[in-house]
Structure formats: structure tokens, C-alpha cells
Amino acid sequence: MQTTWAYLSNNLIYAAMGVFALSFFAHAFETAWAVRTPDQSEGTEGSLKTKTLDYTRTERAARIATALMVLGFLLLLGGVIARGISAKHVPWGNMYEFSLTGALAFTGAYLAALRKYDLRWLGLFISISVLLTLGTAITLLYRDSAPLVPALKSTWLVIHVIAAIISGGVFLLSNVIAGAYLYLDSMESRGERKAWAKRLPDLETLDQLSYRLVAFVFPLWTFAVIAGAIWAESAWGRYWGWDPKETWAFITWVAYAAYLHARVTIGWRGKRAAWLCLFAGSTFLFNYVYVNVWGTGKHTYSGL
């Protein structure tokens, strides 16, 4: 019975990967097809440079791409739930499960933001990064579904880890947007935006959005760290011990605190703020990749 659920989970993950791949192609198709080369009659010598965008032609592709993204999200959600049922615990007991849930949170953050802002231009990037995360997870990080080790048997596993995963998903989304800001900024400083990038929001909007995401999720990250400390107190006999994972969580917290101060108090905007945001986000990624795989300390369980 348990293995049935585990197989179901694996199949759902594979299906989700297939759907995310299709979504990636739909996004690519949309971006590429919208670029229209002007007719010969109106074209002059510089016609190649004056490509225009016509999204009316590709609206259907964009809708399909987003629909596929939602489908992928639902399949992944099913996969994560099935994994949880097979292992009889919340599906974040090791790095494989954490990656699945992280990818789910990342997609969820994107789809939630999509309801308010037209971020479909990000879809290309989101779908490929989710695909890569899932691919890495299922090939390199895969572990058979297994019960939890005693140290992880706690209600705090649910609270601490879900707070960390959601924060991580939103931090990364904010990073993608800050990255897009820097890329578009350098493109604009060299002249006009390229045709495909014209639909993307203006720099001001990107700057604000990236900040809002961080401001929204910073209290949650603070909570994740504190919840971790409370759990550590009851499991390891100290609430803070400078374990590598704790240290990097602290560094991430300090970096985002500095980012918020730089923006709110000193009034940093644009490029400098975006770089600081990228730096803060990279400390989170470092914590996830380096400390889990090569690090030592108390946050290493069941292989990975």
C-alpha cells in the first residue's frame, strides 16, 4: 500500500515534469512568435532592427502556457501529497522531498503573483528552473520513501520547514525579478529595449515588485528561524548553536534586513538595491545547496 503511493508520487512527478517542459515550449513559442519582422514594402535597410511585437498573435499560446503551468502545479501538488501519504509524514524529510516541495512553493508563488501582475514573461524562466530542480531532484537526490528519524518527529517539522520553504520560494522569485531588472537596465543603458523585451514591465515596476515580495516574506523568514530555534531547544538542548545551517539562515536574515534598511531608511533604489537583493538571495541558495550537500552539522539527515 505504501509503495503504491510512492510509485504514484513518482509518476505524478514525471508527469509534472512533462507538463512543465510543454509549458516551457509554449512560453518560448509565445516569446519568439510575437516578434514580427515588418513587411518588405515598408522595410528599409534598418528593418531588421525595427522589429515590432504583436502579442495578439500569440495570446492563445500564452494562455496555453499558463494553463500548462497550472496543470504542472496541480500534478506536482498531487505528487508531493502522495509522497507524504506513502512516507506517513509531511513530505520534507530529506533533500529530495524538500526540493519537490520547494519547486511547488516557487511555482505557487509565481501563479499567485500572476493573479495580480502580468508576469507571463517570467514563465519561460520559471518553467525551465522548476524543470531543472525536479530533474536534479529525481535523478541525483532521489531517496526511497521512508519513515522519519527520531530527531525529525516533531510538530515543528511542519511549522519550521513550511515557513522556510515558502520564504525560499518567494525570495527566489524576488531574485529572478531583481535579475531581470539588472538585465533590462543594462539593455536600456545601451539603447532601446530589444523587441522581445518590450512587453516586460518598466524598471520602476520591477524594482517595486522585487521589494514588495521581500518585505512581504521577511517576517515569515524571521518566523522560520525562530521556529527552528524553538525546535532546536527541545531536540538538541540549545536554541542557537551556530550550526552551519543556522549560521547561513542568520546570514540570509541579516542580508535581507540590510536590504530592507537600505531601501526604507537610506532610500536605495534600482541597481544597487537589486544587487543587494541578489546577494541576499544567493546566501539562501548557498545554504540550501552547499550546507545540505557538502556541509556538516545537525541539519543532515537520511543521506541528504
Partner: protein
């Protein structure tokens, strides 16, 4: 030909004032905050003595020269190093210098009236005007009161302000950080931490001599030790049959608190420690103690009882030393205990499962000087064989005896041991309250919106409405729309 540069006289007081202003400036605080983050990095890359003393020792063996340099820079004790402390102490001084004046100011402004209505409202945000009926000011005042604005009425105008919670939250957040630091300091000054290994069936009495390791904070001593007695009645470890991973550790203990005559039976698990006042007792590790009887050549018992062995891997292959100083000559056994014995071509005897399904005791017997009287501290799990001579090599199953010219050893049975970690941290509740207040403050400061709304009736009877949102807080235009709609509806 040197040119004298004219330096304006500052004086000591002036210099101090200058230093204080520099330290409490936002830019300095931000730099210190970033420095704190950067300074935390080396401690996650270099092994730390407080977490992994074995790894530090290994570092010394692998590259002694580098290790000495790292030691000089406090690299093995980063988080208690002078430079790390300097950064966070400066940061907190800067924070206090920043937050305290602001707290007083905020307190004053909360009790003061909102600022007067500006003369020219048309320059402010969301400016609107319409011809009025005359009673708008009264309706506006009521609406402001109902929506919990602070109101200042002056002549033909009303000025209203709301959203002090933002600054309150901001200050609360920063003050709570000080509380957290205070909690951490109290814990490290007045706290205590110790460990003890107890075999199943044995009693642990919390007095200094019972602890295997015991350390106190700078301002704590043995008198602050919480007295209690723990008897380990049973210990059960469950493992997954396929992956060998541990599934559950449960210790059943009989607990007697200080001053109590009766004892109670309690369950001790990994995530649920026992509590005695401020002191908590954690189940930290477990292993096996082989129970042996060692006799001398006359057949008299020289040593009898359980000897804790130290687990080396997930399948609890454990190593230990059985030292018999009372035998003549002294004898000792360098031994390993294998809970589920198997043979491996490369490593010899190994264990293939952590539960004791087919236990075996492997040992070599040594005679000579154990070196226990030399005064040099020795590990209980290892034996210094430099002044000893090996006389035999064998393995036993429970119940079996091996005889050698100087005596015999009987592997009677085995029993589990548990390692208790005993911690007293009197500062942790402060840190917890600080953390909770910090989150509440953070939420208020990030989502609170401070804004002002003004209304004035000009001499010509025109109603003017405008507002101001601080820190670009969103939602003001919508609020003013609602306010104006209300005014018009009521009239």
C-alpha cells in the same frame, strides 16, 4: 619644507560627540549589520570547537601550521572571538543610540496633536474639492473618530492622522532585539551544561561528581546545580528493517525532584525532554555496554559490571576499553562490540544491524602498566598500550568465557546506555519573548500605514480634501474616496 595643516581644535568632548554621531548614524549601522553577516561566514566553513572539537583536533593533525594561525585569529571559536563580539557590541550600541531617542520622540508625538492643516491643500496628494453644505466638518470629525484617527480641529479645518502603529512596531522590533541579546547573555553567564552516560538500570544523581562533562557560565557555580534523581528503568530503540535507520528511541525513567519524597515514572524521547525548573534533560545519544566479569589467576573477581562502549557507525559497531587496574599485573582489553556480527573481507568484524540480533565482543588482551597513575587524562573508551604487552586475541558470545594465563574474562550480557544532556539556560525565556515581540513589531512596521487626511472649508464655502501617505504607503487615494463619498452621502 613641511606645510602645517591647520586642524580645528575638537577637544575630547567634541571628539566623543563626533564618534557617537558617527556610530549611531544609519550608514554605520548598516555597515555593521553587513559586517556581522560576513563575520559569521568563517565559522560555518572552519570547524568550531564548541560544536565539533574532534574536527578541530583533526585539523591540528592535518595542517598544524595553518591551525596555529587560525587559532591566533580565533578561527576555531569565531562566535565568541573578540572581533565577532566587537562587531555585535558596536552594532547594539549603535542600535540603542538610534532607537532610544526615537522612542522618546515617538512617545511625545503620540501624545501630541497631529500637525496643523497645511495652507495650500491643492499641492498635496489626492486633492479634491466640491461645494459644501456647511456641516462637513462635523461629519468629518465623526468619521475620523469612528475610524480611530487622531483629530485636530482648528477654525474651518480638521487635520487627522492615523497609523502610529508603524513606528511603534518598528521601535518594538528593534527593542526586542536588545531583549534577545540580553537573554543570550544571561544564558551564557548564568547557565550550565553537562552530560552523563547512564546504563539501563542505573541511577543518576545530579551532583557535580556524577557528570562526565560539566561546564558553568562565568557567573554560575556548582551551587546553582538543580538537584534531581533519574533512574533509567528501560530503553527501547526501534530501527527500520530495510534501511537500518532509527525510527524511535524511548527511555522510561523514574524521576525524583528535589524536596519530593515520591517519584514518578516518565517517558524521555528525543523531542520531549524532562524539565526540572529551569533545567531540562535531553536524550542525546545511546549505545551498548557489554557486561563483563574479569577474574585474576586465583579466580577472584577483579572487575564486574557494564562498561559503556562508543558507537562508531549507524549499525552501532562500538569501541571501548576494559581496564582492570586492580589485577596484578594490570590487564586491559581493547575491544569492540558488534550488535549484529558479520565478517567483511576488508574490515574484519563488522555490525550489519544496530539492534543486538547476534552480538559479539571482539578483543585483544594486554598486560603491563595501564598508565592510570601518571596523572595524564585518558579517554575511557581508549587505552594507552605503550607500556603494555599483548598476550591474546579472541571473540566471545554472551555467556562465554575466555581464559588466559593471568586470569579469565566472561562476557555475561549487554545492556543499553543513554547519554543525557542536562542544560540550564535561565535566559531562554527572555530570548523567546524577545523573538515573539520582534515578529509582532516587524509585522506592524512592514504593514502599518501612516497617513494624514485634511479637510477645510474655504471662505467661499468650497470643501477641500487632501492627504499624505508616509513612506509611500499604498491605499490612501481609495481611503480618501471613501471619506469623500461618506461626506456626500451624509449630506
Amino acid at each position: 619644507m613641511s606645510q602645517e595643516v591647520e586642524i580645528p581644535e575638537l577637544g575630547t568632548a567634541g571628539l566623543l560627540r563626533f564618534a557617537w554621531r558617527q556610530l549611531t548614524s544609519m550608514r554605520t549601522a548598516l555597515i555593521l549589520l553587513m559586517l556581522l553577516g560576513l563575520a559569521a561566514i568563517p565559522g560555518s566553513l572552519i570547524p568550531q570547537r564548541s560544536q565539533n572539537p574532534m574536527a578541530v583536533r583533526q585539523y591540528y593533525l592535518d595542517s598544524p601550521e595553518l591551525a596555529r594561525w587560525i587559532e591566533r585569529l580565533s578561527g576555531f571559536t569565531v562566535y565568541s572571538s573578540p572581533w565577532f563580539s566587537a562587531i555585535y557590541i558596536l552594532l547594539f550600541i549603535s542600535l540603542i543610540g538610534c532607537v532610544l531617542p526615537r522612542t522618546f520622540e515617538h512617545f511625545k508625538s503620540m501624545r501630541a496633536q497631529p500637525p496643523a492643516t497645511p495652507r495650500n491643500l491643492s499641492r498635496m496628494e489626492s486633492f479634491q474639492e466640491f461645494s459644501g453644505q456647511g456641516s462637513e466638518l462635523e461629519i468629518a470629525k465623526e468619521w475620523f473618530k469612528k475610524n480611530r484617527f487622531r483629530v485636530r480641529a482648528e477654525g474651518q479645518s480638521v487635520s487627522a492622522e492615523k497609523g502610529y502603529l508603524r513606528e511603534t512596531g518598528n521601535l518594538l522590533f528593534h527593542l526586542s532585539l536588545i531583549l534577545i541579546l540580553l537573554g543570550v547573555s544571561i544564558g551564557s553567564l548564568f547557565g550550565m551544561r553537562g552530560e552523563a552516560i547512564i546504563n539501563k538500570g542505573e541511577r543518576f544523581i545530579s551532583v557535580p561528581t556524577s557528570y562526565d562533562t560539566l561546564s558553568f557560565g562565568k557567573l554560575a557555580n556548582e551551587e546553582s546545580l538543580q538537584p534531581f534523581i533519574i533512574e533509567v528503568i528501560d530503553f527501547v530503540a526501534k530501527y527500520d528493517l530495510l534501511t537500518n535507520a532509527p525510527q524511535d528511541y524511548t527511555a522510561t525513567v523514574r524521576v525524583t525532584s528535589a524536596g519530593e519524597k515520591t517519584s514518578t515514572i516518565k517517558t524521555l524521547k528525543v523531542n520531549s525532554p524532562l524539565t526540572f525548573g529551569n533545567t531540562r534533560v535531553y536524550l542525546q545519544a545511546n549505545g551498548y555496554s557489554p557486561i563483563v566479569t574479569v577474574r585474576d589467576s586465583t579466580g577472584a573477581v577483579a572487575l564486574q559490571g557494564p562498561v559503556p562502549f562508543l558507537p562508531q557507525d549507524g549499525n552501532l559497531r562500538s569501541i571501548g576499553a576494559i581496564k582492570v587496574p586492580d589485577a596484578d599485573p594490570q590487564v586491559g582489553f581493547v575491544a569492540s562490540f558488534l550488535p549484529t556480527y558479520a565478517r567483511d573481507g576488508a574490515n574484519g568484524g563488522i555490525s550489519v544491524f544496530p539492534e543486538a540480533l547476534d552480538p559479539k565482543l571482539l578483543f585483544s588482551i594486554w598486560k603491563g602498566d595501564l598508565g592510570l597513575d601518571s596523572g595524564k587524562p585518558q579517554s575511557v573508551y581508549r587505552m594507552d598500550t605503550s607500556k603494555m604487552e599483548r598476550i591474546a586475541l579472541d571473540s566471545l558470545k554472551p555467556g562465554e568465557t575466555f581464559s588466559y594465563p593471568e586470569g579469565s574474562i566472561t562476557f555475561e550480557a549487554f545492556t543499553p546506555w543513554i547519554n543525557l544532556q542536562i542544560v540550564d539556560d535561565p535566559g531562554k525565556s527572555y530570548a523567546l519573548y524577545g523573538a515573539i515581540a520582534a515578529i509582532l513589531g516587524l509585522l506592524a512596521s512592514l504593514f502599518g500605514r501612516r497617513r494624514r487626511i485634511w479637510i477645510r472649508i474655504t471662505t467661499t464655502g468650497v470643501v477641500e480634501v487632501a492627504g499624505l501617505a508616509k513612506n509611500g504607503a499604498p491605499g490612501l487615494p481609495a481611503e480618501i474616496e471613501k471619506f469623500v463619498a461618506h461626506l456626500r452621502r451624509e449630506i
